[in-house]
């Protein structure tokens, strides 16, 4: 019996990538069932699938102590390949096939405005929160604030400003909280905030950034909105990396002097 188990584990690990298709397929099948039977179509099946995936990620992280969720368990390593940023970006680019060029052109300007407002206001809301929690030096406040922009901008800013590693860790955690919150809350609040048109999706992507959060949140709301939201969200991290360690840090250092 143990030999048979060994063969199965070996097969799983040797074909990790192929396995990941089966696992995601099973999660999707189960989510479709729950969406149709339990919630009677009120909650999108993708939203349930993402929620289950996040729970699995929590379990994986607790079991292994690693940072890549379920994919840190060796038999599930393929999930990490299927969900890598490379394949994420590849499929996001594919979603733009079929998007309307005219919509993007018309909402381009408001999208850019949303992008600038999103990065700057997010940074200051993050900065105020950090200050409220007792951080008073400009470097720490700016690093945590940058983390609320996205979990990439946090460590980039922290490294540039020479922040402490515990502060950088908090900034990454804040960015991950944001991303996960966007995944879960977007489908719940989409209608209330008028997130129903391509233009609104572009504004949303610009205001909130986090490519992972935006793409998953919109996928669980209305997949046809994904390309519009992702289009602006994809510039958010870059703009954050540009502004946070420079202009925005400068403003914080003036205020906290």
């Amino acid at each position: 019996m143990k030999d048979v188990l060994d063969i199965i584990v070996k097969l799983f690990t040797a074909n990790a990538f192929v396995m990941s298709f089966l696992i995601v397929g099973i999660i999707s099948l189960f989510s479709n069932f729950v969406a149709a039977k339990v919630t009677r179509g009120r909650i999108h099946a993708s939203a349930i699938a993402i929620f289950i995936a996040l729970i699995l990620a929590y379990v994986g992280g607790k079991v292994t102590g690693g940072s890549k969720g379920l994919s840190d368990i060796s038999v599930f390593a393929g999930i990490g390949i299927l969900g890598s940023s490379s394949l994420r970006d590849f499929t996001i680019v594919a979603t733009s096939y079929g998007a309307k060029m005219s919509e993007i052109k018309k909402c381009g300007l408001i999208g850019v405005l949303a992008l600038l407002t999103g990065v700057v206001l997010t940074f200051f809301v993050g900065a105020i929160t950090a200050y409220a929690f007792g951080y008073t030096d400009a470097v720490s406040v700016s690093t945590i604030a940058a983390g609320t922009v996205t979990f990439v901008v946090g460590p980039v800013t922290g490294a540039a400003l020479g922040a402490e590693s515990t502060v950088i860790a908090i900034s990454i955690a804040a960015g991950v909280v944001k991303s996960v919150a966007v995944m879960l809350l977007t489908p719940l609040f989409a209608k209330k905030i008028g997130l129903t048109t391509p233009g609104a999706a572009m504004v949303f992507g610009g205001l909130i950034g986090t490519t992972s959060g935006t793409s998953a949140g919109l996928a669980a709301t209305d997949p046809s909105l994904v390309p519009y939201g992702a289009m602006t969200a994809t510039f958010y991290t870059g703009l954050g990396c540009l502004l946070c360690p420079s202009v925005l840090y400068f403003i914080v250092s003036l205020v906290l002097r």
């Binding site: 993402i50 996040l54 929590y58 998007a99 983390g147 908090i170 991950v176 909280v177 870059g238």
Partner: protein, 129 residues
Amino acid sequence: MIYGVALLAGCMLVGSFIGNLLGLLTGLGSDIGGVGFAMLLLLIITNSKKATAILPKDYEKGLNFWREMFIPVIVAMSASQNVVSALDGGVLAITAGLAVVIMAFILVPVFNKFTPKEIAKDAEKEGQA
């Protein structure tokens, strides 16, 4: 089918190249909007009659396959998130992360007021034409 997939890969690599070049020029050394440029590139190519005339007929299948694969990839991505660190990040990380999301949610309707209203009508016209 492979032509569509190859086109997609080409667009993504060219887009990332532009993004990285922008990163180099701004001195950040990271990718700035590479995916966005790749999306625009794919949109321009697939909307151009000249370009699609050159492409072998089946190319659409490759693009459609990966477009459909988007949600499974997102599910796998969600399963690979560092959820433990998000929850263990303490009250500050959770408060800050949630505060900025709520702020963005509140701002979406504000911006929506300024989005050109004739969009829906124009889209209809386009559909009829």
